[in-house]
């Protein structure tokens, strides 16, 4: 007995049901006609995209999604479809998968394990299913599961007990560094324990702060991988099952860790710009490492003709900053403008002279400079319909070393979840492909250039100390004492933590980022602004 299962690792658009249905139909035809597939499996909540968030509370949206599923059954023949959708039953909504074949519903499964942690809010929307689901297709008994279901042993075992010889799972499993290995390790272990082959289909694409990396895979009943789809790319592939076992197939090569993060960032920028209909992107290019990396990412994502750089020097900008910015813009073939900020800074200084008379200079004056740059960049973004990319990194965002409405201005902050040390690693990785970031940008001491001879190290611990402290505090929820016990100086820990604690208000108004760590500032770190908690 032979069965050909197509894996539809597809990039859907959240909320656009009509377009997603069209994408499903075209993919099914490709799988049927070009790949000879008997059945095609799509990712979790195919019809709506994932996560549709509070769109799932709209009755019109849910009705449209359910109607789309009914109509799908009649629009595709000659291949079975396994499609995810928000299933309405009375006043309950389920995260479901349906099997459609020749106009008939062969099976319908309701997800049992609803994640409600980290970036997931599924218990806000869905009721839990309680039954395994097994259907017969061409003589094979196939079990259905959805995402979180297969991270737990119990549901896999129950599905096998219900008669499944083969497991399909529809997923929307978001990326973070190390996630692909972790995902395969955890799930293959579950599969090995349950002894049942698995077809794992993951969504791919960027959706606000989340990246879905694809990397769909198939294991035999021992949990050994026999197939892996590409990372960070759409792919429709077909796997043949012979006598109930998958025939070994191509395993796509995997990106090394830094390269994978780079790919995730490129995909994130590309999809945010494309899915939101921007004509391109602009950014402020300072001659520093952060904007240099974002420029490289943007050009790799969108092409040089879709990206514009703006140099906005002040009296504190060193010549080498301007030189290096121009060097990179030229190296990448990007149009750039130079707009010195002095006239605007002087105007504000004059306008505020009376009010500020007798006060001392402080960060207020630095913020004015940063905000003048924000006004210029936003004006250019408004005029041209190009997305303003914010260039700040995670280390800065953690400690609030950034100006609200200044360098924090923008619609999308690609490296907001990238700690400074990783910014350097990514810049070096990019230069290893072709040298685009001037070496001096990488080697000079980082500076905001908002005051004479200013360097980051004046205000912050060095990044090789700061970054690991932040990772422990922000991502791992470690207490100050634990971090100190791990070998960090109390004063460094105290400085870092107290800045993190005090700057939630800034982060709350920052643009969305691309999540590449296990905890980004965004939907998976929900802190009160008004808070008496002090980590130290």
């Amino acid at each position: 007995m032979s069965l050909k299962i197509a894996i539809a690792q597809i990039n859907f658009l959240v909320g656009n049901i009509a377009a997603n249905v069209q994408h499903i139909i075209e993919s099914a035809h490709t799988a049927r006609d070009e790949l000879g597939a008997d059945i095609i499996v799509f990712p979790e909540l195919t019809i709506t995209g994932y996560p549709a968030e509070d769109l799932l509370l709209r009755k019109d949206f849910i009705a449209a999604a359910n109607n789309a599923v009914y109509s799908l059954a009649e629009q595709v023949s000659g291949i079975a479809l396994v499609v995810g959708y928000p299933e309405l039953d009375g006043d309950r909504l389920y995260n479901s998968a349906v099997v459609l074949h020749q106009g008939v519903t062969l099976a319908n499964y309701r997800k049992q394990a609803l994640p409600n942690y980290g970036v997931f809010d599924e218990q806000r929307y869905f009721a839990e299913g309680s039954q395994p689901c097994v259907f017969e297709f061409n003589g094979t008994f196939i079990g259905l599961t959805i995402c979180e279901d297969v991270w737990q042993g119990g549901i896999i075992a129950k599905t096998k007990q219900a008669g499944a010889e083969l497991l399909l799972t529809l997923n929307a499993s978001p990326f973070n560094a190390g996630k692909i290995h972790q995902r395969e390790a955890v799930i293959c272990e579950q599969i090995k324990a349950a002894q049942i082959p698995l077809v794992y289909v993951n969504q791919i694409g960027g959706q606000d702060e989340l990246i879905f990396d694809g990397a769909s895979f198939v294991t035999d009943s021992n949990g050994e991988l026999v197939f892996r789809a590409a990372e960070f790319a759409e792919q429709i592939s077909v796997i043949e099952f012979h006598e109930g076992l998958p025939v070994a197939n191509h395993c796509a090569p995997q990106y090394e860790a830094t390269a994978g993060i780079y790919q995730a960032l490129v995909l994130g920028i590309k999809d945010y710009v494309r899915k939101n209909g921007f004509s391109g992107a602009i950014l402020g290019l300072s001659g520093g490492i952060d904007s240099a990396l974002v420029l490289a990412l943007a050009v790799d994502a969108l092409g040089a003709d879709k990206v514009e750089a703006v140099l906005m020097p002040s009296r504190y900008t060193q010549d080498m900053s301007n030189e290096d910015a121009v060097l990179q813009a030229n190296a990448m073939g990007v149009q750039y403008h130079i707009v010195p900020i002095e006239p605007a800074v002087n105007a504000f200084t004059g306008m505020l002279a009376d009010i500020f008379a007798g006060t001392k200079k402080d960060t207020t004056e630095e913020n004015i400079q940063a905000r003048c740059r924000g006004v210029i960049l936003m004006a250019m973004s408004n005029k041209q319909g190009r997305l303003l990319l914010t260039t700040g990194n995670k280390s800065e965002m953690s400690v609030g070393y950034a100006t609200l409405y200044g360098d924090m201005a923008g619609g999308f902050a690609p490296i907001k979840d990238v700690p400074k040390l990783l910014v350097y690693a990514l810049a070096n990785y990019r230069n290893s492909l072709s040298p685009v970031i001037p070496e001096r940008v990488i080697t000079r001491p980082p500076s905001a250039e908002l005051a004479p001879d200013q360097v980051d190290a004046d205000s912050l611990p060095p990044y090789d100390i700061l970054d690991p402290i932040l990772e422990r505090y922000v991502e791992q929820d470690q207490a100050a004492d634990e971090i100190i016990a791990a070998g960090f100086k109390r004063e460094d820990v105290a400085r870092a933590i107290s800045l993190v604690d005090r700057n939630e208000y800034k982060r709350r108004q920052s643009p969305p980022c691309i999540r590449i760590t296990s905890r980004a500032f965004g939907r998976d770190r929900r802190y009160p602004i008004t808070s008496g908690y002090r980590g130290i």
Copy 2:
């Protein structure tokens, strides 16, 4: 048999366990010594404040909260305490209430109904309890419940079946317009069905976007109110139970609807400023109705000496705008500054002249004006440590009729959840107490004054049409067809809805507001920015 139960309607600070413990101890001593209470009941999650959000994921925070409860038992004698806390048991966390008396734990209850909708995310943090809890105190059998538990009949009935003669409930029930009546109506009905007296203790105070209104109450076993505490104020009161029935007591008068919303806004500003340690507030005063209302609210919340107004006229600002702004500032005794924005606007126009050569004027130029005002206000806020209040209303925020980093700049947006028609109602209400907002501000047609002779009605449907459409679409999730069927013109509905759909990116970067409707833009409306959904 007589029992005196104190109701501790207290304003706690989220995250500050030490301060909250101190507040508990002082309140208990007051209740014991001044009111002769036998037992004092605090709101839900007393120790941490509510909602502590992802602080609840921190092991150090949870350990501190649990230790605080153990230590409390030894710090208060002569009165029993009923205190809410996040109870750690193994690796599970419960939303619990503990009864402490003379160093002994009399009872411990784990909340059974965990809300995970609207502004609530309790299933992100807590495991569900499964047992009712009844303890004997001075011969009375008392049942414990927590908030959501008493909105459902089942848990009340089970607690009574377990022997309770009297029910205590600890709450953190947030305000929105009409909520106090709704809360009393729903819960009294449950109580009437179950036939058991209830002591309902609610938190009071502002916490980021949430307002807790207090309005604690006591009912007899028929669900008839025999006591109600003040709205929007701290209060410790004592209720005597005689032979198991509450002795009738004082019912505080209730605010009429508009007055109640006004109180909520005043409390919200007061607590945000106080709890976050600002020295006061500043705002841009335009001569329009929105900033006029926010100024009145700020002065009522903080006092005139803590509030500063800034007039920032441009060439498009009418004389009456400046005149009325000055009139109100003087009427309220508030210091004001006048900073014309022309120099900065001219500077930016000059700086961008080459880049914008050959392009047409559009909203870009309007945004530059708004952003110059943002820079000035933020500079003053930075220099003085005063909170910048953002003055935009909900109608504008819905349709994106506001400039990101311009008039949207600020740390807190008091009326972001107040639709324009309600802004007028609140202004009239405030003037009915004492006339502070010039009549012309209320009667003139609203205008952003960013272009010659501009009025809102050029770009938007009139507010008496726009506001009800927005309420249906944003708060009630109605589909376009439903709204049209209710009597609105298709073109108005289409204009409003498409603007709402397209402006999620702006709202995502807006400051937190004070939630006064059943769905604010904030934690209870979680929409994707990248979205193909179109409501029409």
